[in-house]
Amino acid sequence: MSPLFPVRSIYWRVLLALVAVCAVLAVELWQRPGLPPAAVAARPVSQPPAKLAHLAVVSKGEIPMPSGMAAAHASSLLPMPISHAAAMTVFWFSGDRESGPNVQIAASQYVRATQLWSPARFVVNRFVMGEQLGHGLRRLGNPVAWMDGMGRVNLFVVATGWGGWAASRVLHLRQSSDGNGLAELAFEPVRVLPLSWLWNTSFLVRNAALQLEDGGMVLPVHFELGIKYPMALRFDADGSYRGMVRMSQRPYLLQPTLVAQSPLVWLAYMRDQRPQGKIGVAQTTNGGHHWTDLADLALDNPDASVAALGAASSQMLLAHNSSIESRGTLDLSTSTDGHSWTLVKTLERGSFDDEFSYPALAWADGSLWISYTVDRKRIAWQRMAPGTARAGGKP
């Protein structure tokens, strides 16, 4: 037997080890970005109506589908800058069937000049992304869009490995085209987000990010391999990943949606996987450092995705399926305290087997925009504003 590295004196070994550890820490610290500032939620950009209960539908319809595609699901709304030709961009996944091999991420834009949605086009293809990443992506789904501090569209999509949705990872894509008009909009992969040790598997994204004052955001995701739990991921204004925090100790809550009550006090509403489910709630009072579970909302929910929006200071909106057993009814409710909710309007009411699900909310151009899945085949939208106006809208 021989010594591992022949330095006989223990003192020399300790000294050399100390120097080596200090060198490692120095390189570590040198490579890293500075500590992020405290996470402070941004104020809503648009001024909402004083009373959200008076919102009325001004236009509604269906968003054009990519030609020949029979399935559509999980839309995400992205308000565009006021100077942009489009007021809103919507992303969703579409293909022959949900989880089909030809599923891609589709997008359409609501053009201000024409007041119409543009024809949809596919903007993310799994084969192209897989080629750029160097490894395969089995299926794509659940796009969530966010605009970073430099005006680039970032897209977070679920990309599955071997297996179904439970074998998912969250893939971060960033706009690679010069502009973000629909005709030229293109993406390149940034990375698969490192979220867990177990082959980084079973994390999914679904709901919109919470915008921060520093230009960054907090992205809600969830884990769903048997146990379900929500996580909050932080990104800086550059779109760089900064860390993650578990949001609940309860093992049956998924698909969190975030809303700010005040700059540092945020609420997370979550789909509850249990039968006879309600809507789960967690709260942070220190800008996302620590989360505490709160009592469920009184609202019924059939184990279905919900979407929340902070429309103004202490005014919140929630789009949710309101029956225990069916996704056939989709409601819009409002609250000032985050716990007691009042119905604003039933957005859709169908039969037991109908499905109006996976809502997305955004505020832009003085209106509330809502998109949702219809029977997993189409994406519908509604635009609501104060006062009464023409309903019916343009497809």
């Binding site: 021989s2 080890a17 490692v24 390189v27 970005p33 992969p189 082959w199 900064r242």
Partner: protein, 238 residues
């Protein structure tokens, strides 16, 4: 002064200022890592079916290892790295270094008198036990069954420093090792150093030092080593 120390400590403990690897480095590592792992596995399998002569390089083992390694570098879906990456992402640096050490031991068995079968390395066994326990903790953390978020610590400089100190313990205490144990005990040190420079494979140091496949293999190694030690003990006391 205290403020400076507090600020420095906050930086060292911070989990929200990670340095993540460049996309190009991740792609290269995906192919490099799996090429070494597959070459090692391939050579090992061939050696079981077609054992060569001790002390001589075996053409079949070399050939299979070389073909597998080169095949992994083929771009796109014709490469095993494309599908292994889909299922398991990239291997840890430790796994790749261990496969490399095993391969070198197989191909150069007489270089310093090493043999495939040799005595128990207590240091390697100790590290393997720590790896098994760490893997269990990380698995429980993944399933949110721990009260703390252990995986998140892997983004902090403190975790890197702690693992580096752990890696240096055998050398610090003047431990002596024989045969393969001698090269294996340096695996953790080298893995941490490679991570510090290139942030591979994910930017989280846990992913650099231990992956689930390596964790499973460590279970087998620990079980076999303990069984061998038990048999030896029983033989000595018979």
């Amino acid at each position: 002064m205290n403020a400076h120390i507090s600020a420095w400590l906050a930086q060292v403990l911070a989990t929200d200022a990670p340095a993540l690897p460049a996309a190009m480095a991740q792609q290269i590592w995906l192919h490099l890592g799996w090429s070494v792992v597959l070459a090692s596995l391939g050579a090992n399998l061939v050696a079981r079916w077609l054992p060569g002569r001790p002390g001589r390089l075996d053409g079949w083992q070399w050939g299979i290892a070389l073909v597998l390694a080169l095949w992994t570098w083929v771009p796109g879906p014709y490469s095993p790295a494309y599908w292994l990456g889909l299922a398991f992402q990239a291997p840890s640096i430790s796994a790749v270094l261990l496969c490399d050490a095993l391969m070198r031991k197989r191909f150069f068995p007489t270089q310093d008198g090493m043999r495939i079968t040799e005595g128990i390395s207590h240091i390697a066994l100790a590290f393997a036990c720590v790896g098994v326990l760490t893997g269990w903790a990380l698995l429980l953390d993944t399933l949110a069954l721990l009260p703390v978020q252990m995986y998140v610590w892997g983004f902090s400089p403190a975790a890197v420093g702690l693992l580096f100190v752990t890696a240096l313990i055998p050398w610090l205490v003047g431990a002596r090792s024989k045969g393969s144990g001698r090269s294996f005990v340096w695996v953790l040190t080298v893995a941490v150093l490679v991570f510090v420079v290139w942030r591979l494979p994910s930017g989280n140091v846990w992913d650099a030092v231990l992956d689930p496949w390596l964790w499973l293999v460590l279970h087998v190694y620990v079980a076999r080593t303990l069984r061998r030690a038990l048999r030896r003990y029983q033989g000595e006391n018979r």
